[in-house]
């Protein structure tokens, strides 16, 4: 029987684990940071009963009629302090009496809150003066899980995290081993070279379980982010995504000899995707002319697929295009990396 101690692949994978687990900073960035980010953004963008908008009125009568509107928080201020509060952004609108019994609204029309305040204030003023609405209306409020910002955010953060941990994990470890001539020392032994590369994949996939579990579990437990698709499809997406980004990381690190060089390359590759691939806001916001390029990026494909799976319950047939894009990046990056890879 062959013990673990004598299996080179097991030993190389163990080395990866040990190096990773004994680096507290890496643990923080991979496991803790995404959860903190999700928590922070989830709280900042939480859905709550629409906030009352702060406005100011100059006269007591005007303040009284404006207070009839529940969505306005009205302060009564002097003209001078009212103007200061408006300039400082503490109130969205200032209502003052105009000539001949009219009302003057001061606000910034470039600010959506100011425009909303203008509509609400005017409605309150007109109603207080006796205007009746000719048509009756009713509201239905949309607040169920799956359409909130946090629901949009968790798959985006998951994709970003899969990209970062794969590219950073491989890039730094490989260039560091090359720089310290550890790689050269290893290939001077009978170690099969494929095992060296395979050990990165194995350790990456094992850590993936914790990494994905932490973020998705946090979203599901704390914010009730839905998981409408099958977990098998979700796992497949995470594994394929991680493999594609690992191959990309291998390609980025295939020739660099210094940490500075590889850091620059990694940022060059990842930065555009952080911005355009729809992590924090929809990729559709970019011009139509750019959409073919953006949707062919691996992070866009992964995040689109994760969102479709988690929020809409999409399965393999609906995700074929994204799976194809990820597989394409995997094959091309890996083939190129093997061709370019510098072992010393």
């Amino acid at each position: 029987m062959v013990s673990v101690a004598s299996r080179p692949l097991a030993q190389l994978t163990l080395m990866r684990f040990r190096e990773f687990l004994r680096e507290p900073e890496a643990l923080f960035w991979v496991f803790v940071f995404p959860v903190l980010l999700a928590a922070g953004l989830g709280v900042a963008f939480r859905n709550r009963p629409a906030d009352a908008i702060k406005i100011a009125a100059i006269t007591p009568e005007m303040a009284k009629s404006l207070r009839q509107e529940k969505l306005l928080d009205v302060q009564e201020l002097s003209m001078r302090t009212g103007e200061e509060a408006l300039r400082a952004g503490n109130v969205a609108l200032l209502a003052e009496p105009g000539p001949g019994g009219t009302v003057v609204y001061r606000y910034d029309d470039a600010n959506p809150e100011g425009r909303t305040a203008r509509i609400l204030a005017d409605r309150a003023v007109q109603r207080a003066a006796g205007r009746a609405d000719p048509v009756g209306t009713a509201d239905v409020l949309m607040r169920e899980p799956g359409s909130r910002y946090i629901d949009f955010l968790i798959p985006g953060l998951l994709g970003m995290n899969l990209m970062g941990s794969a590219i950073w994990g491989l890039g730094f470890a490989i260039v560091d081993a090359r720089r310290k001539k550890l790689m050269k020392r290893l290939i001077a032994t009978p170690m099969p070279r494929a095992y060296y590369l395979l050990s990165f994949v194995l350790s990456r996939l094992s850590l993936l379980v914790i990494e994905v579990g932490a973020l998705v579990g946090f979203g599901a437990l704390v914010f009730h982010v839905p998981l409408r698709g099958s977990l098998f499809v979700l796992s497949t997406l995470c594994v394929l995504g991680s493999l594609s980004f690992s191959a990309l990381g291998l390609l980025i690190a295939s020739r660099a000899r210094t940490i500075e060089a590889v850091s620059g390359l990694m940022n060059l590759v990842m930065m555009p995707m952080w911005i355009v691939s729809g992590v924090f806001f929809s990729a559709r916001r970019f011009p139509d002319a750019l959409q073919p390029v953006i949707s062919a990026l691996p992070l866009t494909a992964l995040i689109d697929a994760l969102r479709a799976n988690m929020l809409q319950g999409a399965s393999f047939p609906q995700l074929a295009r994204q799976l194809g894009i990820l597989a394409g990046w995997l094959v091309i990056s890996f083939a190129l990396a093997l061709k370019l890879f510098r072992w010393r």
């Binding site: 299996r7 080179p8 097991a10 163990l14 680096e23 001539k181 050269k184 020392r185 009978p190």
Partner: protein
């Protein structure tokens, strides 16, 4: 022929379970013929020939940049030569790399092992690559790191790291060890500890090929030495024979006079018992066969010329003097300037 090589495998520290026939070391462990390697426009190795015999400690001595590391790395199968032939343990890299790697123990210059791993984890990792060899703990004990088994590599001193690197070279119970500048950067104590270890391997019958730019290291450890400079081997033989052939007896070095009142070196050359004279940076160095005649003659000649003596040194000839005689400069000039 193979049978003759068996005595070299009588290892003191390790016993082999089943000595297979393929473990036999041929009488010539390494044969290098007409090796050449050029990097861009720099000729690193310029037609090198030598042999390392089974069971000997062979040293490649030369200044930094002489081409030693390139030569060794070609022999280790890490660098491809432009031309020439390398035969390691009767095998060639292009046809039997895997088999050769199983049987070589290699220590590279300046390898930094992973700082996060412990000594034991590092040795177990390297041990896993080899078919056979001693237990990791036995190798660790052999390089005297037994107390550091659980320490992280990052916590070791320079000498301890170097001994750990040696342990990683020993895990496959190699018949043939390559050590590339094993003591560079160590303090005198660390260097002596490593020398003791290397002497143990020699006593155990292992073949060793080491490079160094410390002549005292080569003199102490090596059975035979090749001196390398500018990509060529400029001398090869036992340290004793090299010293005897080039610089018999002693070396006298002196500085005298000043630019306005220089020594007439041609007169010094004709002195009794002086075999050769070189001048460098205002100091004169003479190889002397008969010290008791040459020194008084030198002093007499200087006072006859009326040139004041400012410095006088006498020492037994060493490999350093062999290098100076052949290369026309000191081994460590680039370090001193």
């Amino acid at each position: 022929m193979r049978g003759d090589a068996r005595p070299f495998l009588t290892l003191a520290s390790f016993s082999r379970d089943t000595p297979a026939v393929s473990d036999a070391v041929p009488q010539v462990a390494l044969r290098v013929r007409n090796l050449r390697k050029t990097y861009k426009d720099v000729v690193a190795v310029d037609g090198v020939d030598f042999e390392v015999r089974a069971g000997e400690c062979f040293g490649l001595l030369g200044p930094n940049g002489a081409g030693k590391t390139t030569t060794v790395e070609i022999c280790e199968g890490l660098t491809a030569a432009d031309s020439g032939d390398v035969l390691v343990l009767d095998m060639r890299w292009d046809s039997a790399a895997g088999e050769i790697r199983q049987r070589l123990g290699i220590q590279l210059q300046e390898t930094q092992l992973s700082e996060k791993l412990t000594v034991m984890e590092t040795v177990v990792l390297f041990r896993s690559f080899f078919r056979q060899g001693p237990e990791a703990s036995a190798v660790i004990a052999q390089v005297q790191l037994g107390e550091k088994t659980r320490s992280r590599v990052g916590e070791l001193s320079g000498g301890q790291k170097q001994r750990l690197a040696l342990a990683c070279a020993l895990v496959g119970d190699p018949a043939f060890l390559f050590l590339d500048e094993p003591t560079t950067g160590l303090d005198p104590q660390g260097r002596r500890q490593l020398w003791d270890l290397i002497e143990q391997f020699k006593a155990a019958g292992r073949t060793i090929f080491l490079t160094t730019h410390y002549m005292e290291e080569a003199e102490r450890l090596c059975d035979r030495v090749a001196i390398m400079d500018h990509g060529k081997i400029i001398a090869l033989g036992t340290p004793r024979a090299l010293v005897a052939s080039i610089a018999p007896g002693h070396v006298v070095e002196f500085s005298a006079g000043n630019p306005a009142n220089e020594v007439d070196v041609s007169a010094v050359r004709r002195l009794d018992g002086v075999s050769s004279v070189r001048t460098q940076d205002g100091s004169v160095s003479m190889n002397v066969t008969e010290l008791h005649r040459a020194v008084p003659a030198l002093l007499g000649e200087l006072s006859r010329q009326g040139v004041p003596l400012t410095e006088l040194r006498i020492h037994s000839a060493s490999l350093e003097d062999v290098f100076v005689t052949l290369a026309g400069r000191r081994l460590h000039d680039e370090l001193r300037s």
